[in-house]
């Protein structure tokens, strides 16, 4: 259960948003929408614990989530608008670090995003959509219960969006939470909507 109470954040000198309140229950999803610059990515970074809120509280299961940042980090799997893919490593090697942290299997994660045949290809040869899928494969590897997604379907083809839908569905069925920011339609049935102005 993730709750936000009166969250506010600054970007430099500018107040991006204030008084953000929401609650996401286990298995629930929250969709962040709003125009460019409305603070969707900032809110996601705040939820990930990368950015400290200027005001308000983030509550996880009734406790202050950000009081122990390394602990909170283990609850979170974050896919930002950058893919964090190293061009010099192969697709599989790009996932090794995430796999080592969680003890999960790289091959299975690549299979979930449909990149199993490209495992040994250097990541610099991958297309933008394939790199995006590689970034999404980290979600499968992590054992985190809160998935934070920043425009996850950017550059994905229809089949990959469908795969992402299956991943999200399975994660929510296990009791996981999803918070996603997007301008596109996401395969997230019955997600609550939070519109940032």
């Amino acid at each position: 259960m993730l709750q936000a109470a009166g969250l506010a954040a600054f970007r430099g000198e500018r107040l991006v948003f204030r008084d953000i309140d929401f609650a996401v229950a286990a298995g629930g999803a929250l969709l962040l929408t709003g125009p460019n610059g409305s603070g969707k990515s900032t809110l996601l970074r705040l939820l990930a614990g990368l950015l400290r809120p200027a005001a308000g509280m983030l509550i996880w299961d009734g406790e202050d989530a950000l009081s122990d940042p390394p602990m909170h980090a283990m609850r979170v799997a974050y896919v930002g608008h950058q893919d964090a893919v190293k061009p010099g490593l192969t697709a599989a090697e790009n996932l090794h670090f995430a796999a080592r942290l969680s003890g999960a299997d790289v091959g299975e994660a690549l299979l979930t995003v449909g990149l199993e045949e490209l495992a040994d290809l250097p990541a610099r040869m991958l297309s933008a959509g394939q790199k995006r899928r590689l970034a999404l494969a980290r979600l499968v590897l992590s054992r985190a219960s809160l998935w934070l997604l920043d425009e996850p379907t950017l550059g994905l083809d229809t089949a990959s969006v469908e795969r992402l839908g299956n991943m999200l569905g399975a994660h929510r069925a296990r009791g996981g939470l999803v918070v996603a920011a997007t301008h596109l339609t996401l395969p997230l049935p019955d997600a609550a909507d939070l519109r940032l102005a």
Binding site: A48, L50, A73, Y78, Q82, A84, K86, L89, R138
Partner: protein
């Protein structure tokens, strides 16, 4: 059972922290191995700049041998600077730094892992290359051992200081220019005591006080540098 559980959870937590720490170091080493050219560049820079001195000053053993410790130290200091620009820069630009920050380690531990990887990939090869270089520069035999012993904490200090400054200038415009300007004054004491040890030995004095001072600097830098670097990383990712 109830009595042992806090100790057990503490041990379990320590084990996971160590596992994550080694995962970060392994990641860094894998990346350096893949970008072998960048890794070798520092070592080659070290060897080439040091080889310029006999050409510029002349091969007379008395002059060359006299300034050899200084040459080795200045060249290794400059060579250790080379990879610092990309130490966090590459990860910062492609979003990997966010993933690192979310690996469940405090930022200071991430900085420590980075410093350790920098030392293994840059400091250690410099240390190993320094011995043949010292011989080539006609350094007196008695000064070679103190030079190498001094380079051991010295290169570690350069890695720690370098990581700190690299983390602090992260996200700043023209950070690459700022980096040497900030690190060179900080590294001056390391240089002074490092060269002092070798000079003392070639002059027939004991290098011990200089080496102990270097060790003291390392003892202070080990906890302080990662903390400062961690704060730099936090503010860069915010």
């Amino acid at each position: 059972m109830a009595g042992s559980s806090p100790a057990t959870t503490a041990t379990a937590r320590l084990v996971t922290v160590v596992r994550r720490f080694t995962a970060v170091v392994a990641r860094e080493l894998r990346l350096s191995l893949r970008h072998g050219a960048d890794t070798l560049a520092a070592l080659l820079f070290f060897l080439l700049t040091a080889s310029l001195f006999p050409l510029a000053i002349g091969p007379a053993p008395e002059t060359l041998g006299r300034i050899a410790p200084g040459i080795v130290w200045v060249c290794s200091l400059l060579a250790a600077l080379l990879p610092l620009d990309r130490l966090f820069g590459a990860d910062f630009e492609d979003g990997s730094l966010d993933q690192l920050m979310l690996c469940g380690l405090p930022p200071a531990a991430i900085a420590m892992a980075k410093a350790m990887a920098h030392w293994l990939v840059t400091g250690l090869p410099l240390l190993l290359a320094a011995a043949p270089l010292a011989v080539m520069l006609r350094m007196p035999d008695s000064a070679i051992a103190p030079l190498l012993i001094g380079l051991l904490p010295g290169t570690m200090l350069l890695s720690l200081l370098g990581t700190t400054v690299a983390a602090i200038v992260l996200g700043a415009r023209r950070g690459g220019v700022l980096l040497p300007l900030l690190i060179l004054p900080l590294a001056a004491p390391v240089l002074i005591f490092g060269v002092g040890a070798a000079d003392a030995a070639s002059g027939g004095l004991s290098p011990r006080p200089h080496l102990l001072l270097l060790a003291a600097l390392l003892a202070a830098a080990l906890p302080l540098c990662p903390l400062a670097a961690g704060a730099g990383l936090r503010s860069a990712t915010e």
